[in-house]
């Protein structure tokens, strides 16, 4: 059975693009459009991976990541932060929040995402 990814992304356009990319890799994708919904989804039905945007309404991606990593029910789920904020401080904030990778949304994003999925054992 295909592994399931929880994508937390408030932009419907970007969510649809990412969903297509991940599904093309043979993964199933659920989408949450804000942080609280993402946390709830991750707790109720833990996915194999969370792909998390930083800029989210009501609770940003750093907060979401910290909450997921503090909760015994979700702390072992790998989190990849995919973001437009790629400076040194934002990168360290993401990694300190417990993210397993922090990937800027640029032309290489899909390639790096695939590489990290392979590294995490989620893709062959």
């Amino acid at each position: 059975m295909a592994l399931e990814v929880l994508l937390v992304e408030d932009s419907k356009t970007q969510a649809a693009q990412l969903k297509e990319t991940l599904e093309s890799l043979g993964l199933r994708v659920r989408i949450a459009y804000d942080g609280p919904e993402g946390i709830r989804e991750a707790i109720e039905n833990p996915p194999a991976l969370v792909v998390l945007d930083v800029k989210l309404p009501s609770m940003d991606g750093f907060q979401v990541c910290r909450r997921l990593k503090r909760n015994p029910a979700t702390q072992d789920i790998p989190v990849i932060m995919l973001t437009e904020k790629a400076g040194p401080q934002a990168t360290m904030s993401g990694l300190r929040a417990g993210a397993d990778d922090y990937i800027p949304k640029d032309i290489f994003a899909s390639e790096h995402l695939i590489s990290t999925l392979q590294e995490l054992g989620l893709l062959e």
């Binding site: 790629a86 040194p88 360290m92 990694l95 922090y102 032309i107 790096h112 590489s115 590294e119 995490l120």
Partner: protein, 140 residues
């Protein structure tokens, strides 16, 4: 063989990116991730190194002249690491201490070492070790 101005012996990968416009910053970031991956750094440390390399590229781009960022594997004893460096002629004559304070405040969290070597021209060198106690996260 050591990098000009650098204290460590080089090993593959040996990569370089010429930085001439903002698109090249993205290429530097990508190249740093690839180099770190080849050396066995975990994704989180690759992200740190990519951010450090991109920040250095942004810095040199602001000078308005083309520069080359070097991304090299290095070895010292049993330690293996990644060195990111660039010659910085615009820093000639500037206090090395002041430069290092500024660089460490901006980039110190991302790498294990930041050095400024030589003065003709000075070279900024950033290093992260793969198998030291504090960084890298991987085992080679």
């Amino acid at each position: 063989m050591t990098e000009k101005g650098g204290p460590y012996k080089l090993r593959p990968p040996i990569m370089m990116v010429k930085v001439e416009d903002t698109m090249d910053i993205m290429i530097v970031r990508d190249t740093a991730r690839r180099a770190a991956s080849l050396l066995g750094f975990t994704p989180a440390y690759r992200a740190q190194l990519a951010s450090a390399a991109a920040t250095l590229a942004e810095l040199v781009l602001k000078t308005g002249e083309a520069h080359t960022i070097h991304l090299n594997g290095i070895i010292e004893g049993v330690r293996i690491g990644l060195q990111i460096s660039s010659e910085t002629p615009w820093l000639a004559g500037v206090s090395a201490n002041n430069v290092l304070v500024a660089l460490r405040s901006k980039l110190g969290d991302l790498v294990d070492e930041i050095l400024l070597r030589g003065d003709d021209p000075p070279t900024i060198i950033m290093v992260m070790w793969l198998n030291s106690g504090g960084g890298g996260g991987g085992v080679s």
